[in-house]
Symmetry: C2
Subunit: 218 residues, 2 copies
Amino acid sequence: MGISPLPPLTPRKSPRQDRAVATLDAIFEATIQVLLSDGLIRLTTTRVARRAGVSVGTLYQYFPNKQALLFAVMERYLAMLSGAIEEACAQNLGAKVEGIAETVVKAYLEAKMDQAEVSPSLYRIALELDARELIEAASRRSAKAIGAVLSTAVDGRFANPALLAQTLTAALYGTLPAFCHLVLSPADGREAQKQLTIMFRSYLASHQNGGLSADAAP
Amino acid sequence: MGISPLPPLTPRKSPRQDRAVATLDAIFEATIQVLLSDGLIRLTTTRVARRAGVSVGTLYQYFPNKQALLFAVMERYLAMLSGAIEEACAQNLGAKVEGIAETVVKAYLEAKMDQAEVSPSLYRIALELDARELIEAASRRSAKAIGAVLSTAVDGRFANPALLAQTLTAALYGTLPAFCHLVLSPADGREAQKQLTIMFRSYLASHQNGGLSADAAP
DNA sequence: GTTAGATGTGAAGGATCTTTCAGTTTTTGG
DNA sequence: CCAAAAACTGAAAGATCCTTCACATCTAAC
């Protein structure tokens, strides 16, 4: 086993017509379903295709191999998460710090609760293929958005909003692997939201108006 | 797909000679190694056997199928965990409550840190095959041991030591899936130990000498 | 209506895997 | 030292699975 050829992981082609978009959606949905009902070991390209109501050939038209499919599913999930955060941030430009903290946490957890029952399966993928870069990329996007809202907050100027945003994002995404193994009940979700909001608010308050030097960078 | 035949998951036979014990150990170790280097999808009975320095046939002498092997690996890991707790409890009969709390947490986390780098892989197995019953059995064993020490504590009588033990065990094993996806550094381990010890001590203190009614059972 | 490009099909090749079994080697007990 | 039991071997059958490819079908634009 010398230098492995490193099979491509990027999609093979993008859909141009509407029905192709529908096909792709069906494939993604089917992948989740198979993962849920059959497990990762028994997840088969043929099985996924059949569940999606397509033929295997169609699947391979969009993904060069099975791993690329799993990667794409993971990517799509993370994009949904960071997308929700970005949208929430965009709608809170110029708001107050308290409101920002609450909105960000709420956006994240609501997006997560929507996918509550599939998240354990996605976590399984993340463990299997090494998805660190994917997760980091998503969290970088979120941090950028959060940094942007923070610097527009009407109350309080932050010495280093980017650093704060990075910390908050880490806390947010850090709880992801910790919790996504279990299916959160609505009650659990509410409680988690409450606790995280409090944490974020106090963290931000301690840095408000230069409360502490936050510029020390190695 | 009607009623599936439900393949057996129990070991095929037990080792009688020393070398057979060594073989089994090698197989277990090899399973972990393959899981670590190749992932769950590429974990193959042949691969495991080769890494263990045995032939496939030997592997199938002890396990009726691949799933039984994975189950056994999981079982062995959990037995180690609950075994560590049981031993710690046995050596603290008649001790003080503070000491008991500290010892139990320490025993659990030390056992876990020993296996730090394999724990993510084991978690992958736990997700794949449904290991809930296994985990519950292990935590029941631990709860029994903890309940026993608590009822012998020199200071303080507990109204319902079994209930307290059950709660503590849940907290302990509950953090297992939450944390075992990451490789704990020694520093993280120390910090976790500190926090859990504090939590346990205060929980126990609040119930000491009938501080609260703890007998409400549904 | 025609045609080029986009999309979809599914049988089949080739690779890999699980599991078995007939036979060999090692250990134990006498 | 010998026979019976235990342990081990590894080739190979049978089952899956990944992936491709030659071909059919559909869509859009002229």
